[in-house]
């Protein structure tokens, strides 16, 4: 049979394709639907949080930071409860990372504050002596791209039924309703409202002034995202 295949490239290629393709089907398909369901307490990202997620991705934070807590005592002691599949239901793309040059960030919102992040992003060594993380000063001057975030929210709501403007059950029995705008202008003002809350806890006067002018520096979005990671 193999000799015959070697003289017939088309059937050879078909054979190779079958040999490589079916492992993917068996590994990926059976669990696909179940792995897509959110756990209770998981809500979609708000406009500013999603903007922060874009900043996180733009700067490849995932090259050095994971967002996956493995079920070991040493990890739950350090980072909090181990990760559950449904907590990632609105993560497109996933940001588990593959290397922890720095610590895991899955629940960083539980133990770091706006103030801490602000100092850390400006000068990491000032809060963590010995840190090898570079400073991210340009985040304080670049503006976040809210329009693209809004387009993404509309897209995921339309194609993947992400529950914006709907009541989502929380762990304590309450409900949360994450608002998505109905126009670009409204999206910008929603994000700005969130930005004002974050900027109130910040010290950098340029950032505060920018937010007062109606701009949203990337750092504000990033901190909103970090604070949402719980």
């Amino acid at each position: 049979m193999f000799h015959w295949l070697e003289k017939h490239p088309f059937f050879f290629a078909v054979g190779v394709f079958i040999a490589i393709a079916f492992a993917g089907l068996i590994e990926i398909l059976p669990n696909f639907a179940q792995a897509s369901r959110p756990v209770i307490g998981t809500a979609p990202y708000s406009t500013l949080e999603l903007a922060g997620r874009h900043v996180y991705i733009k700067n490849s934070c995932n090259a050095c930071h994971s967002q996956l807590i493995r079920p070991f005592k040493s990890e739950t002691d350090r980072y909090g409860h181990y990760s559950l599949s449904g907590e990632y239901a609105y993560d497109r793309p996933f940001l588990w990372g593959s290397k922890r040059t720095g610590p895991d960030l899955m629940r960083v919102g539980n133990y770091r504050t706006t103030d801490w992040h602000e100092n850390h992003m400006k000068d990491p060594q000032s809060v963590v002596p010995g840190s090898i993380m570079p400073a991210y000063k340009w985040l304080f001057t670049n503006s976040a791209d809210i329009d693209t975030v809004y387009a993404e929210q509309l897209t995921v709501a339309k194609h993947f039924a992400v529950p914006y403007n709907q009541d989502v059950p929380m762990k304590d029995g309450s409900v949360q309703n994450v608002k998505m705008a109905s126009s670009i202008a409204e999206a910008r003002s929603l994000a700005l409202e969130e930005a004002k809350v974050v900027a109130a806890d910040m010290k950098d006067q340029d950032v505060k002034d920018a937010v007062a002018r109606g701009e949203i520096p990337e750092i504000v979005a990033l901190i909103a995202y970090m604070n949402s990671l719980k």
Partner: protein, 497 residues
């Protein structure tokens, strides 16, 4: 008519040889910069505060991996295909004007896509998925390039004179199919630009932005099914294709066993795809998938070692060539590193070992002993074998080549040994508890302890880069010297004379 062997047309092969070298230098240089940034963080500002955004570790890291994978390695794969393909199929590219046109189109589109990819990664336009960072417009470009490569490859196969496909061709076909399938499914994404808001606005935000079709755990599963197998079909399969052709040619020895090559080929095809799950051990993907990934990773030793042993046994009775020829040294050490790397990988895929190794530098070390020791050595050896034949000139300097071999070998050894120590040290420190059951180290303790190993790794990488520059210089001098071969060498080794 004179009865003489076929003359082949190496126009396209030469073009891809040049990009192999150019992208190799770029990718490795960025790698060395990254390595030293981890040891000396001040280097993040290597071009000053103003350009910090573009010289910072996290922005450069995807550029390094993608330049080496899609720049250096893929160019090497294409260069060797346009050389080996003609020779084992016994047909010249010059015989078909269509194939020549496709080949040139393949090259220029490829260069354009690579340039676009470099630009977008510097700008921070990325999907964040490892080795699949490109946004949808570039993905479309990648698919077009790949389809043209396929047409060019199957076109040449279609007009072949030698009816049986040589082993190398099996592996090139598998490379084409494997990457096509993986790349398409992992990059399923929806462009966000075309959506319409309730207020009737459309064309919102950045036109190149997209959102993944998969979320969370599913996205991770598809990504590592891709990520692991992009390594398989980019760093293993086509490199095996090279060694099956170039080692027998260079040494003048026949392949040791046809049956072993058959077993390893079909074994590799069948087993490799299953092993992706070992990137997700102790994650939120179902346990049975993790176990499957672990088990198949161990099984993967068989087909991997099958190829490597077949290569080493091909040298049976001719081991004096290893001492005599630096080119044979590259290939033999390459297969040895392949064996080493394909044993190390399965060990890391064992769940209890992975608990320590995952997220640490040991994984980085593993990738690099494979890529520097196996992929890099084999691509350079292939180009060294091709150069006298395509340029019709002898290799400029054999002693330079030997010096390069030793410098790079030392570089690889420094690289993987320092990363072993760094990875295991960090993995053990993360999990250490004191006698009261509290964590023994804060995270920063486990970072500062790595400084000497990061410095050693940087030196290892630098030595490898120096060796690569020697390689580039040697090839350049070969190309630009006075021609000495009147006719293409047919079977004699370029090292023989």
């Amino acid at each position: 008519m004179e009865n003489r062997p076929l003359e082949y047309d190496y126009t396209i092969a030469k073009m891809f040889m040049l990009t192999t070298i150019a992208f190799g230098i770029v990718g490795m240089l960025i790698g060395v910069i990254l390595a030293f940034q981890l040891a000396f963080p001040g280097l993040n500002l290597i071009l000053g505060d103003g350009l910090a955004e573009y010289t910072n570790f996290s922005r450069l890291r995807p550029l390094h991996t993608d330049a080496v994978i899609f720049g250096f390695t893929l160019s090497g794969v294409f260069a060797t295909w346009y050389y080996v393909g003609q020779r084992v199929l016994k047909v010249s590219m010059a015989e078909s004007r269509l194939l020549m046109t496709l080949g040139k189109l393949h090259f220029w589109l490829y260069v354009i896509v690579v340039a676009a990819a470099v630009y977008s990664l510097f700008a921070g336009v990325t999907t964040s998925k490892e080795y699949a960072e490109f946004e949808w417009p570039i993905d479309v470009g990648v698919v077009v390039v790949w389809v043209i490569f396929g047409m060019s490859m199957f076109g040449l196969i279609g007009i072949r004179r030698e009816k049986s496909l040589y082993i190398s061709v099996w592996y090139y076909i598998a490379t084409f199919l494997g990457i096509a399938m993986l790349y398409l499914f992992n990059n399923m994404e929806i462009p966000t630009y075309f959506v319409t808001s309730p207020a009737g606005e459309s064309g919102i935000g950045a036109w190149y932005h997209s959102v993944s079709m998969y979320a969370g755990t599913n996205d991770a599963l598809v990504q590592w099914w891709y990520g692991h197998n992009a390594v398989a079909f980019g760093f293993t399969v086509p490199i095996v294709a090279m060694i099956y052709y170039f080692l027998p040619k260079e040494s003048g020895q026949a392949i040791y066993s046809y049956k072993l090559s058959l077993l390893s080929f079909w074994g590799l095809m069948f087993v490799y795809l299953w092993a992706g799950g070992h990137h997700l051990l102790y994650s939120t993907v179902p346990d049975w998938m993790q176990t499957m990934g672990s088990i198949f990773s161990i099984v993967l030793i068989l087909p991997s070692w099958g190829s490597a042993i077949n290569m080493l046994l091909t040298m049976k009775g001719e081991w004096q060539q290893v001492a005599a020829s630096p080119l044979i040294k590259f290939m033999v050490l390459g297969s040895t590193f392949y064996m080493f790397s394909t044993l190390e990988g399965p060990i890391q895929a064992i769940k209890s070992v992975n608990a320590i190794a995952h997220f640490t530098d040991w994984i980085v070390g593993h990738v690099h002993d494979g890529v520097l020791g196996w992929v890099g050595f084999m691509i350079m050896a292939s180009l060294y074998h091709m150069a006298p034949r395509v340029f019709k000139r002898e290799i400029y300097s054999k002693s330079l080549m030997a010096a390069q071999f030793w410098i790079q070998t030392l570089g690889v050894v420094l690289y993987f040994s320092s990363m072993w120590i760094a990875g295991i040290t960090q993995g053990m420190m993360w999990r250490a508890h004191d006698e009261f059951g509290n964590l023994a180290y804060s995270f920063i303790d486990t970072v500062t302890v790595l400084h000497p190993y990061y410095a050693i790794r940087g030196v290892g990488g630098l030595l490898y880069l120096v060796g690569f520059l020697m390689f580039a210089y040697n090839i350049y001098k070969t190309m630009s010297s006075r021609p000495v071969e009147e006719r293409e060498l047919q079977s004699a080794s370029p090292m023989g004379a």
